[in-house]
């Protein structure tokens, strides 16, 4: 497109005796407007969505507190404060969120749990991303028989009570944090695979892919150069929507006592502890629950905002 513009500009220049693009624009009497890329467009739409921007800010804040916080707080996560066991939140004692049954500062514990929860969220999402995108891109790109068989397999997986398998897996192989990552990632790739496949199918029929085929590009080149970059939008949206799901699954497992193990902790595990003592020590339930809920809430809002910004089909 760029080239044809220059060509016609050149022709124009030839006949009018002026040079370059400016002359062309002048000749047409059109002010030059800088083009806006799809990404800039999307950013504008996202920034206009106040809920999403606010959520994004809050998320960044939580991320910073969770990463930096534990170094700034005078208490260690495994330090027992014998003078303050089961003590409610107070500024005087320095335990702003109170302490738990063995006198550990709940603020530090909550931040430590947040590190694990967020880490699980990111890593398991990457696992599901790798599986889902590869699977979906292959099915969509090769189409036909391959696609039919691969999507049938996905259909079969869809009908499985996956949560039960994860519980089984945790029981069978013990509570291992690496396993948590893989197990959760491995059950969450189905949606990603379906979406990527659909997108690939429609991308495959576009003119520029046809042109690439005509130029003799190999399937691999086409996937890497033309398909994957165009999948970015959808993939980013689903990453944002998968992270809260994954965090939810992890905290669900931890809540059942199957996720991470002491002395490590996660928001789900803390909520579980807190729920057992909530009548005498409600703060043990409330603080981790609030952190977990706010994080999930914001992630969902950002995901929604990104979808509205990046996925033009859903715009109403």
């Amino acid at each position: 497109m760029n080239r044809s513009k220059q060509q016609s500009a050149g022709l124009d220049a030839g006949s009018r005796g002026a040079t370059g693009k400016d002359a062309f624009a002048q000749a047409l009497d059109v002010p030059q407007v800088a083009g806006r890329s799809l990404w800039e467009d999307a950013r504008h739409r996202l920034l206009k969505n106040r809920a999403a921007v606010f959520s994004l800010g809050l998320l960044l804040l939580i991320l910073v507190i969770v990463t930096v916080g534990p170094w700034l707080i005078p208490w260690d996560a495994d330090y027992t404060d014998w003078d303050n066991i089961y003590s409610p939140p107070s500024i005087a004692s320095g335990h702003y969120f109170g302490t738990d049954a063995v006198g550990r500062d709940l603020f530090v514990r909550t931040l430590q749990g947040g590190r694990i929860s967020l880490l699980v969220g990111f890593v398991a999402t990457i696992v599901s991303l790798l599986i889902g995108v590869t699977y979906g891109a292959i099915a969509g790109f090769f189409g036909g028989r391959v696609d039919q068989v691969m999507m049938r397999i996905v259909d079969i997986f869809y009908a499985m009570p996956f949560m039960f398998f994860v519980i089984l897996l945790m029981v069978v192989f013990g509570r291992n944090i690496i396993l948590v990552f893989i197990a959760i990632g491995a059950i969450n790739w189905l949606d990603m695979a379906r979406i990527v496949r659909g997108q690939t199918l429609s991308l495959k029929r576009t003119e520029y892919v046809e042109a690439a085929v005509a130029c003799g590009a190999t399937p691999w080149q086409i996937i890497v150069r033309h398909i994957l970059p165009n999948l970015m939008g959808v993939v980013i949206v689903y990453i944002t929507l998968t992270i809260p799901q994954v965090i939810l699954v992890e905290s669900f497992l931890s809540f059942l006592g199957l996720g991470v193990q002491e002395p490590m902790t996660s928001w789900g595990a803390l909520v579980n502890d807190g729920a057992q003592d909530m009548e005498s020590a409600p703060w043990m339930l409330i603080f981790p629950a609030v952190f977990l809920s706010i994080t999930l809430y914001c992630l969902n809002y950002v995901g929604d905002g990104l979808r509205d910004a990046l996925d033009p089909r859903d715009r109403i």
């Binding site: 009908a159 499985m160 009570p161 398998f165 909530m278």
Partner: protein, 306 residues
Amino acid sequence: MLNYSLRRLAWAFPTLLLLITVAFFMIRVAPGGPFDSEKNLPPEIQQNLNAKYHLDEPLVQQYFRYLGQILRFDFGPSFQYRDWTVNQLIARGFPVSLSIGALAMLLSFTLGVGIGTMAALRQNNVLDHGLMGFAMLGISIPNFVIAPLLILVISVYWGWLPSGGWEWNWRNMVLPVITLAMPITAYIARLMRGSMIEVLHSDFIRTARAKGLSEFTVIRRHAMKPALLPVISFMGPALAGLITGSVVIEKIFAIPGIGSFFVQGAMNRDYTLVMGVVIFYGALIILFNFLVDLIYAWLNPRIHYK
């Protein structure tokens, strides 16, 4: 239509077989056996126990024996609850789980469709934003957070409803049903809003309005059916979510349903019980998905039964 139904049903069998196979081999490679918790069992008794439950046979033989049992709908005896068969345990727990689950499903469907429609009719209004904010809350806050908070406030502080336990009594059902229904209501409301907005923009709705029909009639007679389609196809995943949720809810509220058996069984390596529950719920989900497919095809004139 019959051909289509049969084809859908035919797909259920490989799914079920895969489910049984994976569950069987996964639990058998697990370290530790069902009788490990017994203290110092003499080897002879251990052998007798293994022989009684056919644990001494080769794995493949056990697998086919188990498949044969399943064909006769026999899940075998439970390893931990000595005098109970798995069938009996499921028969005992299922009415409880079913009544809570069915009520939650009913509640979330009516409430979700209502909220979604209302929000769609007031698109981008204060009401819409408020309702959707609440829906997002329902999706984001996990039910194991909501349940203890509800218990803390409603049962402990105010003393209105029991904090757990089970009797066949509405007071014991209110809190579990509400917590279980909350996330699914929220999903349905969001789905319903989106599809309703899309339907309201279509030509036949404009025609209906142009005919002079009242807004209520337009919604009820023309917009409702097509707008419900995405919600109908969500009912399968909704059931799966409900079953998963029931595991947590039954634990928190101390309800003797199937979910609580499952968690205990998994902890105690009660092979037969755990497999029985997984297969039972898996079959339930597969059957339900099949029914949902049929309803969807029946409601949607655009589907051709190929």
